[in-house]
Symmetry: C2
């Protein structure tokens, strides 16, 4: 069926589940024809995905007015604009939880699933492409399914996926996964062919990742984290193969993994939601023996290398549903080392991953909470300043909290790393200020913390000035005090 | 050995693990002699427990200066005073995580364990009393163990406990628990008798719970929650036996369970960290078929009834390590309905469970995060106002966040219940304000939210006035605006 014909299946008010996770394995054709229907007939949908889409789809659909409601993650400037204006209702969710909530009826059910496939098997089962995301659960729940068969994807992708969906409750059994490399499910998504409403042929690639190359600051952050791992190994708390690694999407977490290339660690595995260029470099170097995730999001060059060598990589890779890649049960059991990026954190180690100025959504919490809460080590990284020093990433009080101090073991910037394990809030603050804060802001934070401690409390704060830095930035363009003379 | 002789085993700087969880099964003798040593010799310890202690022990030990560091929970006015003054370093932890962190070396190891026992078996294994807490893991790790054999506890407690400790990582297997009533471990804590340094005989009871009886407000909260459950059953999202229930320690959560006595639900189970009077009333009424927890904390009268009828209750009760009662793996698998108490929550449903005025510790996060994150339904309850109306429990912005909006499905006060599932922040705010806020504060919150929305954002706020209510309360004694005329 043509994409235009398939678009006729939709009615306003429907909930649509689309494949796609951090730009990988997203539908390529239907977003365009649905946006056209929004322009022409005012079509309005609830759109649920794995995570962010590529190919400018989220922005284009937002511009068309198609998206009434959106979950669980996005990373598009124009969709973000509409979310922050209150025109799109966005549900920012832990990525492991969306299909759990669909399954138990806490969210309205998926009406139509649109999923990209590398192949359709003779029994009708669907072989996903470069992500699994929430696709398998969307297919299971949807009344109608549209398959986008992408001829640009190699058939060798078949066998890369491991599809396991937990049962409903009560009566659910343990998820039997006990190592990153284990397979517990099927290699394709089974489906009753009667529910397949359309098969649409496409022929275009995933969008490349937008990660920036490592720079001096991200290299310094990586060095601090690698040095910390070395110290843990020396202390006997980790083996030289560490524990399975997770790294969030984006430049800084990618750079930290990149830093492992120069380390002596070997026999490492990855159990993450997304594999970026650094994961493939570590597979190529032999330091990673296996990598498990829900999607593969690469630069154009690395993507070519992957697609040309799928057979070779497939022996050491698996893609799982995001419910499994991010599942608290598995994260806790395996003892993941989680490395995620903070937008800002406060002197006590409460992390804001999502809200600029405490109000405006950047992307979403993604899987960071799935991993940070139950990780063996929960590490958050960020550059110490942004906007040329006008914004400190370490602030008196986080304007929005995505990860509480309970869930944050380690914070690191280019200045250093603070190991917060076993410390009370007053001790955490002293260490964070001395180790992680840019020198231009250290005295300001020392002063804030000293005066807050004098006022008392387990987590001392001065509510009257807790957000002064953010307000100063809003009014003057900088968090720095006008009279302060930066070093 | 006498308690005084046993006290000679301790040296300053040691980490001591003590049994005791929400006042149940705590050591009765050693706290006194250790406090005396603090007075006499300046003994200073790191004290790790299951949760709060009874018998005034935390306060007495705090007064003596014994406690240098304390984790993971407390509920004592004098210890709290020292924590908030910065004299005791308190680590406020998810209750499932303390022994995980001890096991992997993220916390210094337990030097001496002090555990209350109902009996010591011929093979040396220890039968706990009214709580398991972290006792089994303390015993496994400690170099020396002091057993307090409490003759006031009935021997019939033997068989009530189910001791299961997950293995280290890597190599951990799934926890095989798939229902609240299942037994997966041993009925006593095995130990090498060579590590038992002392057995001290005691003969006194647990402290009774301090829960207040239901009042008009808590009855109204209970009614809203029960009505919500009824609607979920009617919609087919829950069966009449619901799903396993968890309720936090304290008056309000206890009152909500009490409200189930007047409901038509039956065949219910409990999978919680503590069993309070209401749990036994529901066992007695036959509506609860089974109750699983880590401790039993009752009023004096109910405690008498329990201890006199242990054999009868034991068929429908099990006490587990708090790592298992609160384990995210099990909470997610079973699909717990979690009911916990908020100190305050904001218009977006971010919950402060711990910090008065954003700075001063009340008790601790306890198990609320263990349950709320992975629950089938995460419900937070509170009275809409405190201090005779001078404090609104619903505020523009929470001054401290323990549970982010991602982890909060339902909030309820005596005025009503807000079902936040599937809603974006702006929608959550509108519903919370109309359903849950005391009428005296509704217009103030409507005004705040409307003005914040005009300023924009996914989670609109006005940073310049987000904490005005708290500052007004600090300066005038009330969050109400001086010019406002309350209805």
């Amino acid at each position: 069926m043509s994409a235009e014909q398939a678009a006729a299946l939709f009615r306003s008010g429907m909930t649509v589940g689309m494949s796609g996770f951090t730009k990988a394995g997203d539908c390529k054709a239907l977003p365009h024809v649905l946006a056209r229907r929004a322009h022409d007939d005012g079509l309005r949908l609830t759109l649920v995905t794995g995570a962010s889409l590529g190919n400018d789809s989220d922005g284009m659909m937002a511009d068309s007015g198609l998206i009434a409601r959106r979950m669980p993650f996005q990373a598009d400037a124009r969709l973000r604009r509409d979310i922050n204006a209150g025109r799109v209702m966005f549900m920012d969710q832990h990525l492991s939880e969306t299909v759990e909530q669909l399954r138990c009826g806490s969210l309205p059910p998926i009406d139509v699933a649109i999923v990209e496939a590398a192949a359709i098997r003779e029994d009708g089962s669907i072989v996903p492409t470069t992500s699994v995301g929430n696709t398998a659960s969307f297919v299971r729940q949807a009344r109608q399914i549209i398959v986008e068969l992408n001829l640009a994807m190699p058939l060798a992708l078949e066998g890369l996926h491991d599809i396991y969906i937990p049962a409903g409750r009560p009566g659910r059994e343990p998820i039997p996964l006990t190592s990153a490399s284990q397979r517990i499910g099927a290699s394709a998504i089974s489906v009753d062919p009667a529910r397949i409403a359309a098969i649409v042929i496409t022929d275009s690639a995933d969008s490349p990742s937008a990660n920036l190359p490592p720079d001096d600051e991200t290299r310094a952050i990586a060095r601090h984290v690698v040095d910390f791992f070395s110290a843990e190994v020396a202390a006997g708390r980790l083996s030289p193969s560490l524990l399975p690694l997770q790294a969030g999407i984006g430049t800084i977490a990618n750079a930290v993994l990149h830093g492992l290339l120069e380390s002596s660690f070997s026999g490492m595995t990855m159990y993450s939601e997304v594999l970026q260029d650094s994961s493939f470099e570590l597979l190529d170097s032999g330091q990673f023996t296996f990598a498990s995730a829900s999607s593969i999001t690469l630069s154009a060059g690395m993507n070519r290398r992957f697609l040309d060598n799928v057979e070779r990589y497939a022996q050491r890779l698996v893609l799982r549903p995001q419910e499994i890649s991010n599942h608290p049960e598995i994260v806790r059991r395996l003892g993941i080392i989680a490395i995620n990026t903070a937008l800002e954190f406060d002197i006590y180690g409460n992390v804001n991953s999502t809200h600029v100025g405490g109000t405006h959504m950047m992307n979403g919490i993604g899987g960071s909470g799935d991993f940070a809460r139950n990780a063996h080590l929960s590490i958050f990284v960020t550059k110490s300043v942004a906007k040329g020093g006008a914004i400190s990433s370490v602030v008196p009080m986080a304007t929005h909290v995505d990860h509480t101090e309970h869930d944050v073991d380690i914070v690191a910037t280019e200045w250093g790393l603070a190991d917060l394990r076993g410390l009370a809030p007053r001790e955490r603050a002293a260490l964070i200020i001395e180790r992680c804060v840019h020198p231009d802001y250290r005295d300001m934070l020392r002063s804030y913390h000293a005066r807050a401690c004098a006022a008392g409390g387990h987590t001392p704060h001065l509510l009257a000035e807790a957000f002064d830095w953010h307000q100063r930035h809003a009014s003057t363009g900088s968090m720095l005090e006008p009279l302060a003379e930066p070093a």
